[in-house]
């Protein structure tokens, strides 16, 4: 026999669960509003076409959240009166080349460190660890001195090299992935006379789709998200060489001599154009991204 007040207790537990579920939903809704508020703000601003007394577009930050008039004027302005298309192409160029180089470097170092045995392996791992302790941000300032000394500061190639050349150090997540591929698989291939190169090409790579996509996704979106490397290396003075980040920043907070009342809404329009493809890319690769983040965190 159960004790007599088991029944009502069960009911109250159920009730409690209901309350906690409802409060859970409330929390989630409130948090979603907070998280989406700035996102929606950019989108609304991009399409905002309110005009002031002089009939000009008001592009400064305005206090009403929802616009009173909408249209595509900001986008037209952005493409006709700024160098945004050029910045977009610059960023696309830099990220397309640097993602190929950095993915190749990262994967090859990760494979070597995970699956090949050679004398200096342990020392390489230790050296990579120590070098990784210097924040990339600090070496970028030194790279700036060096490029400046060589009169090389202002080229897109310098930026590509800065993004991708150090990629060899970021092999930990991919190495963790390769570590999970059973060695017996490689040994049986070796018995069949496969060389290490063939093993890499025919066995490792086909098995590594998730980690290849993760690495490629991060290195491709990196230049679109980065602000500081591009600003330091390419400088602020030559708008021909801006990436989208530097260009849009200078549009808002750049030289005050060229105050343009349409700047904020134009900035928002540019943001939408930049963010839409990146967000689409991220969401479609979500699975691989989550896998990589989890693996990276757990591996340390």
């Amino acid at each position: 026999m159960r004790n007599p007040d088991a029944q009502p207790k069960f009911k109250s537990v159920k009730r409690q669960e209901q309350i906690s579920t409802i409060s859970g939903y409330v929390t989630l809704v409130i948090m979603s509003i907070i998280w989406l508020y700035p996102v929606l703000w950019i989108i609304l601003s991009a399409f905002r076409t309110e005009r002031n007394d002089q009939g000009q577009l008001i592009g400064i930050v305005v206090s009403n959240y929802f616009p009173r008039a909408v249209g595509f004027d900001n986008f037209i302005n952005l493409f006709n009166n700024t160098m945004f298309p050029r910045w977009f192409m610059n960023t696309l160029f830099v990220s397309s080349i640097s993602f190929v180089i950095s993915t190749a470097l990262t994967l090859s170092v990760a494979y070597v460190m995970s699956k090949l045995k050679f004398k200096a392996r342990k020392s390489f791992l230790n050296i990579a660890l120590i070098l990784g302790m210097f924040p990339g941000f600090m070496s970028i300032i030194a790279i700036y001195y060096i490029l400046k000394a060589m009169n090389l500061t202002q080229t897109l190639f310098a930026l590509i090299l800065a993004y991708s050349a150090g990629a060899g150090l970021g092999f930990y997540v991919a190495k963790g992935f390769f570590d999970l591929i059973p060695n017996s698989l490689l040994e049986s291939a070796r018995l069949d006379g496969a060389t290490n190169f063939q093993i890499f090409k025919k066995i490792i790579l086909p098995l590594s789709k998730p980690i290849i996509i993760y690495t490629a996704l991060l290195s491709f979106t990196g230049p679109w998200m980065d602000f500081i490397f591009a600003r330091v290396i390419l400088g602020e003075t030559n708008p021909e060489l801006h990436t989208v980040a530097v260009g849009l920043y200078s549009m808002l907070y750049g030289s005050q001599s060229t105050v343009d009342p349409n700047r904020f809404t134009m900035f928002a329009a540019g943001s939408v154009i930049v963010a839409v493809p990146i967000v689409a890319l991220f969401l479609s690769m979500q699975k691989y991204y989550v896998e990589g983040v989890t693996a990276g965190a757990v591996k340390g």
Partner: protein, 491 residues
Amino acid sequence: MNDRHALKQGRVQNFFSSILKSFKDFGYGIFRGLKRFVLGVKKRAIRFGKRFMDGSIFTKIAHLVMGVGQFARGQIIKGFIYLFIQVGFLFVMITSPTVNRTPIGFKALSNFITLGTVEGDVFTPTDNSMLMMLFGVVTLGIIGMFIAAYASNLSSSYANDLLIRDGKKVLTFKEDLTELFDSRFHITMLTPAILGVIVFTVLPTVFMILIAFTNFDAQHPAGQVLFDWVGFENFKTVFTGQGEVAVRFFPVLSWTLVWAFFATFSNYIAGILLALLINKKTIKLKKLWRTVFILTIAIPQFLSLLAVRSILSEYGPINNLLLTLGLTDAPVSFLGTARNPITARASVLFINLWVGIPYTMLMTSGILLNIPTDLYEAAQIDGATKRQAFVNITIPYIVFVTTPYLITSFVGNITSFNIIYLLTGGGPTVGGGYKAGSTDLLVTWLYKLTIDENEYNMGSVIGIFTFLITATGTLLSYRKSKAYKEEEAFQ
């Protein structure tokens, strides 16, 4: 009660003793490394002498003229490569070609010590001390690489000697190439990465560290005024001087640590709670909620941060809302121009939650899926309630698995440049005309000192301090991480 107190104290002690231990191990590691290095040099010297005596006449000549040991055995291409390296090296060193009026080669080595002697006038340009330092480092690097090539030349020649002595054939060039794709595949794979890292990580880092020991600042622009080595002068200035760096160093350092602490733990705890909430059985539409938060990761950070900055500005919608609701009489400044530094600091910490929670949430969601289900089954059999299982399995598991992440994200927060720079620019300003504002971290200050103020040497000192902090953190996390321990077991 007392027990619990003692336990807590024990944990704190544990934490500090583990920091001390990692320093000790680090120092011991350096000592061991040095010892190994000296022994290695000794071993190599002995081997060098033995090889010279034991090697064939071609190997003996190869000590003077690289490539002879290969030419004599028909390895024409390989021999030619070695010879070319030697000729090229000697040519560069002796002729010391100039780039931007500054030589690379033997002359660069003496320039590296003096950092330039010619004080220019109308007719002669001043020596560029910065380039001299840079090329000195580059020349040392070239010498190092030459020594490696020289050693490889000798060992390859000696290997040929041994093969011939055993009556075997030496490898043809084609066979050598095949080797590079099989037993020496690691060399092929690592070379491009190592070159990239040397030029874009090692060289800049060495260069940056060296600048901390010079008087390269706004009064000594490179190519116009000579600068020179000053030893530990700059480090002394930070602790005892009168200038901006000395006055602002400790306030900025302490805010950096406070920021990193709060930013890390607030994100960590809130992110885990959010993940637990979304993964609750009774919550529907999990994918939708997750996507909402992933959205903020996917949007380039500089865009969302600048948008948030505009939302929080005096004329932005938040202030409008506050005014309409009658919560304030005048627009509030939350960020760079805030009246009170506390307001600005609290705002950046709050916005950092907006940026950081989704990462922790994503990661924890992944971990929640990986908790072995047999743990729960066993608990159920033992009669544990759901709540007990949650407290005794789920939470400890998450905390255990994510500890390395906690430390790496602490290190990451110390160097989180974007959030501070894009939101407040380091402001609000501090009285006295100092450039480092009340939300400036070491890294944003470093940026201002070097890029805006051209105080390169001081920036470099700040950089070294930042490195010391991050290195401590990284060492701690590395020693604790699964990867490190498994790596040990793996060996």
